[in-house]
Amino acid sequence: MHSRLLVAALVLCHAGPALAAIEQQNRPKAKAPEPPAAAPVLTKAPELIEFATAAYPTELLARGVGGDAVLLIDIDERGLVDAVQVVSATEPAFGDAAMTAATRFVFSPAEIDGKPGAIRIEYRYVFTPEAPVPDAVAGEVTPASQLPVNLAGVVKEAGTRRPVVGAVIELDGTAIAETDAGGRFEARGVGLGKHRLKASSRAHDAYETEAEVRPGERFEVTLYLVKRSGDPFETVVRTRNERQEVTRVQLDRQEVQKVPGTFGDPLRAIENLPGLARVPGGLGGALLVRGTPPADTAVFIDGVQIPLLYHFFGLTSVINPEFLDAIDFYPGGFGARFGRATGGAVEVKSRDVTCEDWHGVGEIGVLLSRGYLCAPAGDWSVAAAGRRSYIDLLLPFVLDRVQNNDPGQGSATVSPIFWDYQVKAEHRFGTHDIDIFAFGSDDSLKVITTGSAENVNFNLRLHTNFHRMQVRDRWKIGEHTTLTSSLTPGLERQGFSVGSDLGSATDFGVDIWSLEWREDLTHKVNDQLTLNAGLDHQFGWADIGITFPLSNSLRRFPAGTFDYTQTQSASYGASDKSQGYWVEAVFTPAAPLKIIGGLRLDYFDFESVGHLQAAPRGTVRYEVVPGTTIKGAYGLYYKLPQPQFLLRSPIGNPELQPERAHHFILGLEHKVTDFIDVSLEGYFNLRQNLRAFSDASVARGGKYVKQVYDNDGNGRTYGLELLLRHLATPDGMFYGWIAYTLSRSLVQDRAHAQLATPDAEGGGGFNGARAGGGVTDWYLSPFDQTHILTVVGQWTLPWGLEAGFRFRLTSGDPFTPLDRGAAYFDADAGAYRIDASMVKRSSDRLPLFQQLDVRVDKTFTFDLWRFAVYIEVLNAYNAHNVESYQYSYDFKTRVPLTLLPIVPTLGVRGEF
């Protein structure tokens, strides 16, 4: 027994000389070549204040082989090890062991020019074996490698049960082993009796227990380490991705999953980035990018365009957070790979399914619940997730209690009902990585009436859903070439009706079958040149049925609302065969300069009306000094108007041209520290060929028909965007950002219906809604918000606590003050109408909007699962933000409408 203890002790002895050698052999080096004129001076060398013992390679120890490893260690300004490289090692195993140990070193911060700074040092780690000792019992020397393994185990992360790699195992204070890729460790010849067994890892709290080794037995143990910081459910690996586009903000799911005000949905966090206007209503649910309508921004999931990113009311996105890997947001200037969007683009990358064991997540909140399960299935890994809301069940309960006892009062409220699902299976066949990803979403509204409103015979039906099944092959053709192919059939259904149980005044229904085909090829020619190319086809077939009130030219006498007797119906079939081809070259002639040039060809074919468009796009990035990059981009973008505007007259105009936008961007990026970035961008978007109302009659198919729409609309947006971002630190203690946007968005179209536009003198007047009329003067887009400030912060606190906040301060939305128009009583309709032609359109703004959202999470970690409780409070100080105005029946007075009061929500979450 004694001899076995000695063998274990030998391992520790090797650390001694290594530690002793540190001070003599540390040779600080400048981290990167510096210009002679600005060479920094090391004013204080870093000192090793926390040493980690390397595990002596068992085989070398058994053979009595000694040696050393020379390392280059990058130390950040706080003294933490940022990176380690092996320069040389007498044995490769020494290099690996030393490198692993060195990542756990902690130094006092180096000072450069008197200030803490990052530094690179050379470090020599010495391994000295000691001779085997005679076995006390047998009186013979037993090589260590021949001693039996009598202590073994596995180290896992508590809650997730994932193996902890590189954890150091200490026995009675002596490091004896390090866990392998599977989290396993073992030790030979451990002395009999009780020992203190300790496992530690840099990212986890150390765990210590008692191990009793008995004669002839092998002590097996599983140790669970509690993750020390950050999201306890995730491993945060934060790196700066190589930037290509001028403007791309990448969000890691782990980093933004708990941004307050987003209901724990990382996709909702996009709304807090520069360039995004606040969505009216206080909840969110649309992407208003750089003053453009939501339909101008395309959303892709693994390259597949989806019709809906958020559920109704914007509570959550349609993809479960567990399925997200990364979110790339492009507010403009995006590359040729993306088409059919003139505003921005969002690419959601789904997570690879690689679970080696069963893994699940369940969350129950006040408004919805969701679940996720991942499991190995033979050679495949399969994951599935689902979510369901139940606001419709809770709302009547709440409304009944807030309803006052006034018998004349009642309310009709619409509540969203939604669910979504995702199923993904993944398998690797040699150089092919195949995955099948099925996902879909269903949203509907339910009308909830209380009090006297229950007497109203009113139906509102809004139902939309979509389903996609993507089959994707990621093929690594060679060392420098990859090809990603995907084929995605899909189905989408939308229905909308308003009326009573006797009939509908308006009814709309559409079924769309679609097929998307994408090929994305990347070939790295050399270090200076990478070529990308692909195709991006979308085919769709739609059946559309419409019932709606008679239009002005085919009408009935004005009467009350929802008169189902005064409607007309039509049915349409429509097909869309859009093809896209793109090429792109990423050229890096010299290290600081990167040039990306691309061209996209789109052939739009809606109902056999074709349009071929070529869209050049280019980006230049130049790193002026290390950490500081100037950038610029230009791009031309096309998209067809939405399909309902392309139907036959009197619904739409199939001859509408694609809308186009020119994006001009100039900006600056600066890396302030390893964890702080700042970015400033100026942009100008010129939008042309926009759809505008037209009362003109045109000859089509031998008949004169209403043109309904033409392409005479224009838009322009310009502004500055600032993003100051603190990335998640390795210890996950803090992340956050400040986003500020200064912008102006203007549009020019034809006035429609009651609303006219201001004339040059600002006096107003009817201005050309009719045939032959010109377009209006420029006026503020409804999505214009001059100032948009968002501050987000998230801290990891002791005791499993996390806390965060989001604060938003934005200009109010433009609106047309109808109380300044001329109202009259329409005796036939029994209602007042407003002639707003005397009012300047968008001539007033809602008051400043402000909102603070906070969230606190408390996590309880057990060995096999974790449990978290969170509270999220929207509008924490109950700011009375005006979202709109309600006018009196005669439009003479108005009162502000404030939608979102303080809203606390609770939830629990478990993971195994």
Binding site: P307, P407, N455, F562, F825, A827, T893, V895, L897
Partner: protein, 374 residues
Amino acid sequence: MKRLLILVPLLTACSGDLPVYSLVESLRVLAVKVDPPKFLFDQTSTSVTFDALVVDPKGGPVDVRWQFCPVESSKACRDYDTLFAQASAVATAVAQKVAPGTTLDFGPVQAAHELALSGTAQPAAADAALPASEVLRPYGIPSFVLGHDDVQGLDTFFEYSSLFGYGEGAWPSAILTVTSAGNSVTTEKRVVASLADLSAINGVLFGALGLQFCPKTVADDPRPCKEWDPSRAGNHNPVFAASRWSAGKSPLATWEDLPADGSPLPVKAGAEIRLLPTFTPESFESYQIIRTTLATNDIQLEEATEELSVSWFVTAGKIQDALTWPLFTRSLDTVYTAPKTPPSDTGGLVTVWMVGQDQRGGTSWTHVDLLISE
């Protein structure tokens, strides 16, 4: 394929400080009717008369001005010049297509637009002999009459500028402006202008659009002809019959007649009663409408029967539904809640106004007096 996007306004909030539509607190035009509600140009004896229901609990004289708007406006004829220019251009183009060389005289349109009537009306309470409660009675607004001769030639204009709304007529209107102590209310009331015998434009216009009235004027047209009934081309205003009431707000309560002598119905302060207006059976007229199927531009003739609705107004207290309409509120009745204290300025008297409307511009009104007591 691009997606169809549906946006629905979802804002809901309380709006307690806004005036209530059904509560008459100041000068209001509650209704305008035209009798008959259809101007048939091919009946030379036609004339129509506009009358208005105007009330103001505050009293005082009102200035009244009627004006005829011979074009179809959605802005109380403020845009007459623009609309007239557009309609004239359309009429000219159509006339040239139908009969090349035709010239149209638009003089009647401009002359009709100059038809106007101005005057002053006194509130009933100005007569010292009337009790204070009579302040709730409507103003004696002078009627505005349009005779056939006043609008001579407009039929040609309507025919060519709007094809008579595909049979639903054109919609000229009368604009009424009442002004009292700086408070002005403008009201628009349309009158359907059409033909009793649509066959007058059969073949040339409707035939081109796919509608053949019987007998066929285009003999070899394979499409079946439609049986248009000129006897039902006219329209009449609905007529109120006796109104009824029941205690409480339950719709299952027993209906009772209102006092036969016209005296106010006694109601306790704060109490709820249900009021039920009724119409004569003749008020629910059957008629023919012309429908168009959009996808094929096919025109069909359909039978229809008027659905009547009632708008409610009250001088004190609260009405549950400002509009009752079986299509929307399942029945014509509604609940009235008396004020918690009787209105002192009228001696506790409250008037409930009911304005009945059909779907073709037919209008009539009646009222119920209630006496609120503690």
